[in-house]
C-alpha cells in the first residue's frame, strides 16, 4: 500500500465568510504537539484567533487492547489494564479485578480492600501531580513541573517498593493483592503523607497569586452542568460544573463507605475551578490515605478461593494440593461463571468502568473499558468554540487527557 493511502484526511475545509472576501483558516494541531499530552490531533477552524470549530482526531495509540484481552486468561489481563491509563495503573487494576470478582462473587478480605484504597488514593495523588505539573507547563509556568515531579517520584518509589515496578505494577490480582507490602511500607507512606499537605501549599503559593496563571485560567472553557451530563463528562470537570457526583461516595466500592472525606464541588465551570477542585481533591486523598493507614485491619491479603488465587510460594512447595492448584491456574486459568457485569470506579479522571462478559470459560469473552477522558474529549469543542486559540491548550490540560486510555 502507498503512503498516500494512509494520508491523514483534512476533516474540515476552510469556508468563505458571508459578506466578506475573507476565508476562515484551518489549523492542524498535533498529533505531535507537546500540549496535547500524547498523540491527539485537533483540526481547528479559526477566524483570526477565534476558534469556530474543533474536530478531535484520535486513534494514533490504538493497540487493540480489548481484542487482546479476549485471547488471554483472566489473570493475564491484569498487566494489560496497567497500560491503558499509564498515569493511574492501579485504578485500572482495581476496576478490572472488582469486575471479575463480581462475576466470581468473591469476598475480598478487609485488609486487601483497605490496601487497595490506600494505593488507589496514592495513584490519584501521583496522577494529579503529573496533571498539575504538565498543565502549569502548558500555560507557561515551567517551574512547577519540577516541584510536582519531586513528590511524584516519592510515590513511585513506594509503588516500586510494593510491586517491583514504578508504573506498571500489576499489583492487584483477582481475589486480592499479589504480595505482602514490604516491612517499611507503613513508615514510607507515613513520611509521604506528613510531607504532602505542606507541599500542596507550596504549589498553591507558586500558582494562586500569579496574575498570568489567573488570567489564563479564569473564565476559560466554560461548561454548564447540562452540557457536561449530555456530553458524558465525569470526574473533576463534572464536579466543577456543579454536579455533586463522586462514585467513591455515591456508589462505594472496595470499602470506600468506611472512609470520611469531602467531595469538592463548585458550579463555576471554568478551567480555574477544575484546577482548584483537583488540588482540593489531592488534600482529601491525603486524608483518605491517612485513614487507611491508621485503620488498616489485620488479616490475609488474598481471598480464600484456592481455584482462583495462586497459593503462597511456601505452600506450593510443601503441599501437594497447592501445587496442583498452582499448576492448574497457571496452565488453564480459572473458569468464571457466565454473565455480564459492569463495574465502575472513580479514577483520577472520572468514571472508569469495565464491562466484562464471560461465557463460562477461562478467557473473557469480551472486556470493554469505559474511559473517562474518551467521553470528556467530546466536550472539548463545546468548551473551546468562540474562545481564543491559546485557550484550547488550557482546556485540554483541564480535562486531564491521557491518550493511552482514549485510544486503548
Amino acid at each position: 500500500m502507498d503512503a498516500a493511502d494512509f494520508a491523514i484526511s483534512p476533516l474540515i475545509e476552510p469556508r468563505v465568510e458571508e459578506g466578506s472576501k475573507d476565508r476562515t483558516m484551518v489549523l492542524n494541531m498535533g498529533p505531535q504537539h507537546p500540549s496535547t499530552h500524547g498523540v491527539l490531533r485537533l483540526v481547528l477552524e479559526i477566524d483570526g484567533e477565534t476558534v469556530l470549530r474543533l474536530v478531535p482526531d484520535i486513534g494514533f495509540l490504538h493497540t487493540g487492547i480489548e481484542k487482546t484481552c479476549e485471547a488471554k486468561f483472566y489473570q493475564q489481563v491484569v498487566p494489560l489494564t496497567d497500560r491503558i491509563d499509564y498515569l493511574s495503573p492501579m485504578s485500572n487494576n482495581l476496576c478490572y479485578c472488582l469486575a471479575v470478582e463480581k462475576l466470581l462473587q468473591l469476598e475480598i478480605p478487609p485488609r486487601a480492600q483497605w490496601l487497595r484504597v490506600l494505593l488507589n488514593e496514592l495513584t490519584r495523588l501521583q496522577s494529579h501531580l503529573v496533571w498539575l505539573g504538565t498543565h502549569a507547563m502548558d500555560i507557561g509556568a515551567l517551574t512547577l513541573f519540577l516541584y510536582t515531579f519531586r513528590e511524584r517520584e516519592e510515590i513511585l518509589k513506594i509503588f516500586e517498593d510494593v510491586s517491583g515496578q514504578r508504573m506498571m505494577g500489576s499489583y492487584f490480582r483477582v481475589g486480592g493483592i499479589a504480595l505482602e507490602p514490604p516491612v517499611n511500607f507503613h513508615e514510607r507512606v507515613q513520611n509521604l503523607l506528613k510531607m504532602m499537605p505542606e507541599r500542596i501549599d507550596e504549589y498553591e503559593n507558586l500558582l494562586n497569586g500569579n496574575p498570568i496563571w489567573m488570567s489564563r485560567l479564569k473564565g476559560v472553557g466554560y461548561l454548564s452542568a447540562a452540557d457536561a451530563i449530555a456530553l458524558g463528562v465525569t470526574g473533576p470537570p463534572l464536579r466543577a460544573s456543579g454536579v455533586d457526583w463522586d462514585l467513591r461516595r455515591d456508589m462505594p466500592y472496595s470499602s470506600y463507605e468506611k472512609f470520611q472525606f469531602k467531595v469538592p464541588v463548585s458550579d463555576v465551570g471554568d478551567v480555574w475551578t477544575r484546577y482548584l477542585l483537583r488540588v482540593e481533591e489531592m488534600r482529601e486523598s491525603v486524608k483518605i490515605c491517612q485513614q487507611a493507614l491508621d485503620g488498616m485491619p489485620q488479616g490475609p491479603l488474598k481471598a480464600n478461593a484456592p481455584k482462583v488465587v495462586l497459593p503462597d510460594r511456601e505452600k506450593m512447595k510443601t503441599q501437594m494440593e497447592s501445587l496442583i492448584y498452582h499448576f492448574k491456574i497457571v496452565t488453564e486459568g480459572f473458569a468464571v461463571p457466565a454473565g455480564q457485569v459492569y463495574q465502575a470506579i472513580e479514577s483520577p479522571r472520572g468514571e472508569m468502568g469495565y464491562f466484562v462478559v464471560s461465557d463460562g470459560t477461562a478467557k473473557p469473552y469480551r472486556v470493554h473499558m469505559r474511559n473517562p477522558t474518551f467521553a470528556s474529549l467530546q466536550a472539548l469543542e463545546t468548551m473551546c468554540v468562540g474562545r481564543l486559540l491559546a485557550d484550547v491548550v488550557a482546556v485540554i490540560g483541564s480535562i486531564d487527557i491521557v491518550l493511552g486510555e482514549i485510544d486503548r
Binding site: D5, F6, S9, I58, G59, H62, G64, E66, K67, T68, E70, A71, K102, L103, Q105, I229, A230, L231, G232, V243, W245, D250, M251, G339, Q340, V341, Y342, A344, E351, G353, F355, V357, Y365, R366, H368, R370, F374, A375, L377, Q378, D407, R408
Partner: protein, 163 residues
C-alpha cells in the same frame, strides 16, 4: 446468547424499579427479555424501540449515558448485542439495555439526539464491530484509519489481524 427468557419473573420481582415501571406504563412489549444478575439489571429492548425507550428512561431519571458498546455472539444469530449503560444520579442506580442485531441487517437507531455523548461511543462500535447507527451525524471510523478493512472486534477477525 442462549438463555431462558426470565422476562416476566424479573419484571415482577423488580416492579418497583423506576425504569421498569416507566417502560411498562408506556409500552410493555418493548422489553423483550430481562435479567437480574450480580446485582445488575439488564433489559433487552426491541430493536426499533431503542430511541423511545431512551427518551422514556431519561424522563424517569436515568439522566446519564455512561457507555455504548457491543458484544459479538458469532456464530449465533442475532449476532450483535449492542449494549447501553445508563446511570441515574438521583436514584444512584445503573441500568443496562441491550439490543440484539442481526448480522445481515446491522442497523440500530442512533441515540445521539437523546444523549450527544453517544456520538463517540457509536462511532467506536461502528469502527470495531461494523454495526451501523441510523441517523448518526458523523458515522466515521474513530480508532482505525478510514481505509481499514474489516471490523477488528468481530469474533471472526483474527487476533493477529490479516497478514
Amino acid at each position: 446468547m442462549d438463555a431462558p427468557n426470565e422476562r416476566d419473573a424479573v419484571l415482577q420481582a423488580h416492579a418497583q424499579n423506576h425504569a421498569i415501571a416507566a417502560l411498562l406504563a408506556v409500552k410493555p412489549a418493548c422489553i423483550v427479555n430481562a435479567r437480574f444478575d450480580c446485582g445488575e439489571l439488564t433489559l433487552w429492548i426491541a430493536r426499533d424501540d431503542i430511541r423511545p425507550v431512551c427518551r422514556t428512561l431519561q424522563k424517569a431519571g436515568y439522566n446519564f449515558l455512561v457507555d455504548v458498546t457491543c458484544v459479538d455472539w458469532y456464530p449465533s444469530e442475532p449476532r450483535f448485542q449492542v449494549t447501553y449503560h445508563l446511570l441515574s444520579h438521583s436514584l444512584k442506580q445503573r441500568l443496562r439495555l441491550c439490543v440484539m442485531v442481526d448480522s445481515l441487517d446491522t442497523e440500530v437507531a442512533s441515540i445521539t439526539p437523546e444523549w450527544p455523548s453517544a456520538n463517540f461511543y457509536e462511532r467506536e462500535v461502528w469502527d470495531l464491530f461494523g454495526v451501523r447507527f441510523g441517523g448518526h451525524p458523523n458515522l466515521r471510523r474513530i480508532m482505525l484509519p478510514d481505509e481499514w478493512e474489516g471490523h477488528p472486534l468481530r469474533k471472526d477477525y483474527p487476533v493477529e489481524g490479516y497478514r
